[in-house]
C-alpha cells in the first residue's frame, strides 16, 4: 500500500464562508475509504478540489507515484491522469444509448483527431460487454439512457467510471434513491473495484457505510474530525455530538 492521493493543509473560502478548513487526507492504493459528515461538512467540495472543479486558496494536492500536483491541471487533464468521479445526481448523457455512454468513457486516446480517425479499436465491444455485465445493463445496451430508472442510471455512471479505468474513484452518494436490493449490488460493485484501485465513497447513510466495512473519515466544518473504523469513529464523543447536535 503506497500513498496515491495526498491532500494537505487545503483551505477554500466561498464569499467569506470557509467550506474547507486546513483539510488533510491521504488515500492509499488500493483502498476503500468512506467519507461521512453532516450537510455542509465539505464532502462534495473536497471532491471538487481533487477533480479540479474548485481551486483551493492554499494547500497541496498531489497524486500518483511521481507526486504531481493537481492544482495546475484542468479537469480533463486530471481525469486523464487517472481520477474518475461520480456525481451525486446521476449525470449520464440521456439522449444517447447505454453503449455510447460506456464507449465514450472507455480508456482510449482522448484527442479529437484520435477519436475521429481511429474509429474501431479492438476488443472495444468486449470491454463494453464486460462492463455492462458488471453493472447488469447488458440487456439495455441499445436503450436510450434517459429511459433508464434512477438506480440504473447510477449504475451506468459507475460503469462509466470503471470504463475509464482510473486509479482513484471518487463516488458521491452512490446509493441515493436506490432500493435495498440495488444498494447491496452497489456495495458489491464498489468493494470489488477497491481491490485493485483506490475508491473514496461519500455517503450519508450509515448502514451503507457499515456494509462497505472500511476505514471511515468523518468531516465536520471543512476538516477531519475523526478517522478509523466505523465502530471506532461512532464511539468518538465529538462525532456523536456533531451527528446528534449539541
Amino acid at each position: 500500500m503506497s500513498t496515491l492521493l495526498e491532500v494537505s493543509g487545503v483551505s477554500v473560502t466561498f464569499d467569506g464562508f470557509r467550506a474547507i478548513n486546513n483539510l488533510s487526507i491521504q488515500i492509499a492504493e488500493p483502498e476503500l475509504r468512506a467519507v461521512i459528515g453532516p450537510n455542509g461538512a465539505g464532502k462534495t467540495t473536497f471532491m471538487d478540489i481533487v477533480t479540479g472543479k474548485t481551486k483551493p486558496d492554499e494547500g497541496r494536492v498531489v497524486f500518483g507515484d511521481r507526486g504531481d500536483s493537481l492544482l495546475g491541471m484542468s479537469e480533463s487533464q486530471i481525469a486523464q491522469a487517472g481520477i474518475g468521479r461520480k456525481f451525486q445526481k446521476p449525470t449520464v448523457f440521456e439522449a444517447q444509448t447505454v453503449r455510447e455512454n460506456i464507449a465514450m468513457a472507455l480508456k482510449n486516446k482522448r484527442g479529437p483527431f484520435d477519436v475521429l480517425l481511429r474509429r474501431k479499436t479492438e476488443n472495444r465491444e468486449d470491454r463494453i460487454r464486460a462492463i455492462s455485465d458488471e453493472i447488469g445493463l447488458t440487456d439495455a445496451l441499445d436503450q436510450q439512457s434517459g429511459s433508464l430508472s434512477h438506480g440504473q442510471k447510477q449504475w451506468l455512471e459507475i460503469g462509466m467510471l470503471l470504463a475509464q479505468d482510473p486509479r482513484l474513484l471518487l463516488v458521491d452518494e452512490p446509493a441515493a434513491g436506490m432500493t435495498p436490493a440495488e444498494r447491496e449490488h452497489t456495495t458489491d460493485l464498489l468493494v470489488r473495484a477497491a481491490k485493485t484501485r483506490a475508491v473514496v465513497v461519500v455517503e450519508h447513510d450509515m448502514e451503507f457505510v457499515r456494509r462497505l466495512n472500511c476505514k471511515v473519515t468523518v468531516l465536520h466544518e471543512g476538516s477531519v474530525l475523526a478517522e478509523g473504523s466505523l465502530d471506532h469513529v461512532t464511539k468518538n464523543k465529538d462525532v456523536v455530538d456533531v451527528y446528534l447536535g449539541r
Binding site: 484542468s74 456525481f87 448523457f93 482522448r110 479529437p112 474509429r119 462509466m160
Partner: protein
C-alpha cells in the same frame, strides 16, 4: 468500413440519391441541354440554394450537434466569396485591359498593365493602387487556398480565444455576432481595399470561359454546387456519426461532465468550429460566382441569423433537416420577395408579400420553435414511428400489482 458507415447512416444514401435525381432532372430541364423548362436565372437560384444548403449543414453541425450557436458562419461564407471574387475580378479585368492595350503602338510594360487593372478595379473608390490584401489575387491556386484558409485561421484564432476562456451559451453567440459585425464594418471601409460598399461585381463572368454562354456556365456551377453539397454531407455525416459525434453531442448536453471523462472540450469545439468555418468558405466561393456580386451587406449579422433560422425551421441535430430548412426557406424567400407571390387584397388593406414576408418568416420561426422543436425534419421521425416511449409507468414493479387500467386515474 464504407459499407458499415452507409449501413449505420441510411439517411446519407437517401440524401445522395435524392440529390442525384434532382441534379439530373434540373440538368435535363435546363436551357443548356435543350428543353429550357428552367430559365438560366432560376438555374442560378437553384445552384445558389445548394450552396446555402451546404453552409446550413455546417451550421447544423456546429449548433445542432455541438451546441455552439454561432452567429458568424455566414461571415465565413462571405469571406470565401470575397476570396474567389478577388481572383475573378482581377483575371477578368486583366483580360479586358490586355485587349484594349493591344491597340497601342508600343507593347505595354508590366507596370502599365498593373496600373490599368488597378485603375479599372479601384476607380470606383477613387484609387488605382493595389492594396496589400490583393497581393495574391493574380493566382487562382492561392486564392482558392485562401477560400479555405482565411475562414479556417480566423475561426481557429477566434475560437481558441473564446473557448479557452470558457465562454458558452448566449454569451458566445453575442461574441460571434460581434465578430461578424466587426468583419462587415471592416469590409465596408474603403481603406480595406475591397471596394467598400460597392463590393466585388461581375463575378458571373468566368475568365477563360468567355466563349461559353451563361446557360452553360450556370449549369457547370450548379453541378459543382451539387457535388460540393454531396461531399460536404458525407463528410459531416462521417464526423457526427460514431464516437466523435457521441462526444460532441455530449458536449452540447453537458459540457462539464465530458471534461470529467477526460476529454479536452475546448479542442473538440475548436475542431468543429474551424472545420465548419472552412466548409462555409467553400460554400461561399461557389455561391458568389453564381450571384455575380458580393458586398459587405452579405456579411452583416442578419445573414448569420437567417442561417440559424433555416436550421431551426428545418430541424436541428439532423443534417437533412438543415438542408430542407435552407432550401425551403431560401426558395420561398426569393419567391415572396421577388414579387411573384400574389398580393392578398383584404378590401381595406393589400398585403404585399415583399413587405410582409419577413413577418411571415418571423412568425413561422416562433411557431416552429414553440410547437415543433424538432423542425420539419421531425416529420421523418413521425414517419419512422420513432415515438418516444410511454414513460408514465405502472403502479408497481410486480406482475401482481395493479396495472394502469385497473388503477384510479391520477
Amino acid at each position: 468500413m464504407k459499407n458499415t458507415f452507409i449501413a449505420r447512416n441510411p439517411s446519407v444514401l437517401w440524401f445522395l440519391a435524392g440529390l442525384a435525381i434532382f441534379t439530373i432532372l434540373v440538368t435535363i430541364m435546363s436551357e443548356a441541354t435543350g428543353f429550357g423548362l428552367i430559365s438560366t436565372s432560376f438555374l442560378k437560384t437553384l445552384g445558389k440554394t445548394l450552396c446555402l444548403c451546404l453552409v446550413a449543414i455546417a451550421m447544423d453541425v456546429v449548433w445542432g450537434y455541438c451546441g455552439i450557436l454561432s452567429l458568424g458562419h455566414f461571415a465565413f461564407f462571405g469571406i470565401g466569396g470575397y476570396a474567389i471574387g478577388m481572383w475573378l475580378m482581377y483575371a477578368r479585368t486583366e483580360g479586358i485591359v490586355l485587349t484594349s492595350l493591344k491597340a497601342n503602338a508600343l507593347p505595354p510594360t508590366a507596370t502599365e498593365i498593373t496600373d490599368a487593372i488597378g485603375g479599372q478595379i479601384f476607380g470606383v473608390v477613387g484609387s488605382s493602387d493595389f492594396p496589400m490584401i490583393w497581393a495574391f489575387s493574380h493566382s487562382l491556386p492561392l486564392q482558392l487556398l485562401a477560400v479555405i484558409l482565411v475562414p479556417g485561421v480566423l475561426a481557429l484564432v477566434f475560437g481558441w480565444l473564446a473557448f479557452r476562456s470558457r465562454v458558452t451559451g448566449v454569451y458566445l453567440s453575442i461574441l460571434t455576432q460581434a465578430m461578424t459585425l466587426a468583419l462587415s464594418l471592416y469590409f465596408f471601409q474603403n481603406d480595406t481595399g475591397l471596394r467598400g460598399n460597392n463590393g466585388l461585381s461581375g463575378l458571373q463572368n468566368i475568365p477563360g470561359l468567355e466563349d461559353q454562354s451563361q446557360a452553360v456556365v450556370s449549369l457547370w456551377f450548379f453541378w459543382a454546387s451539387a457535388i460540393a453539397l454531396a461531399l460536404g454531407y458525407v463528410l459531416f455525416a462521417y464526423v457526427v456519426s460514431g464516437k466523435f459525434g457521441s462526444v460532441i453531442r455530449a458536449i452540447r448536453d453537458n459540457e462539464a461532465r465530458v471534461r470529467f471523462l477526460g476529454y479536452h472540450v475546448e479542442h473538440y469545439k475548436l475542431f468543429v468550429f474551424t472545420l465548419t468555418a472552412m466548409i462555409a468558405g467553400v460554400a461561399g466561393a461557389l455561391y458568389y460566382p453564381q450571384a455575380g456580386i458580393i458586398n459587405p451587406a452579405e456579411i452583416a449579422p442578419i445573414a448569420s441569423i437567417y442561417l440559424a433560422v433555416w436550421v431551426a425551421i428545418g430541424g436541428r441535430g439532423r443534417l437533412y433537416g438543415a438542408v430542407i430548412g435552407a432550401a425551403l426557406v431560401s426558395l420561398l424567400s426569393s419567391w415572396f420577395t421577388g414579387g411573384s407571390a400574389p398580393n392578398i387584397n383584404l378590401g381595406f388593406y393589400v398585403i404585399k408579400w415583399t413587405d410582409w414576408w419577413l413577418v411571415l418568416l418571423g412568425l413561422s420561426f416562433v411557431l416552429v420553435t414553440l410547437f415543433f422543436p424538432k423542425g420539419i425534419g421531425g416529420i421523418f421521425d413521425a414517419l419512422a414511428k420513432k415515438t418516444p416511449p410511454n414513460r408514465e409507468g405502472d403502479f408497481g414493479p410486480d406482475k401482481g400489482a395493479w396495472r394502469n387500467e385497473e388503477g384510479e386515474p391520477s
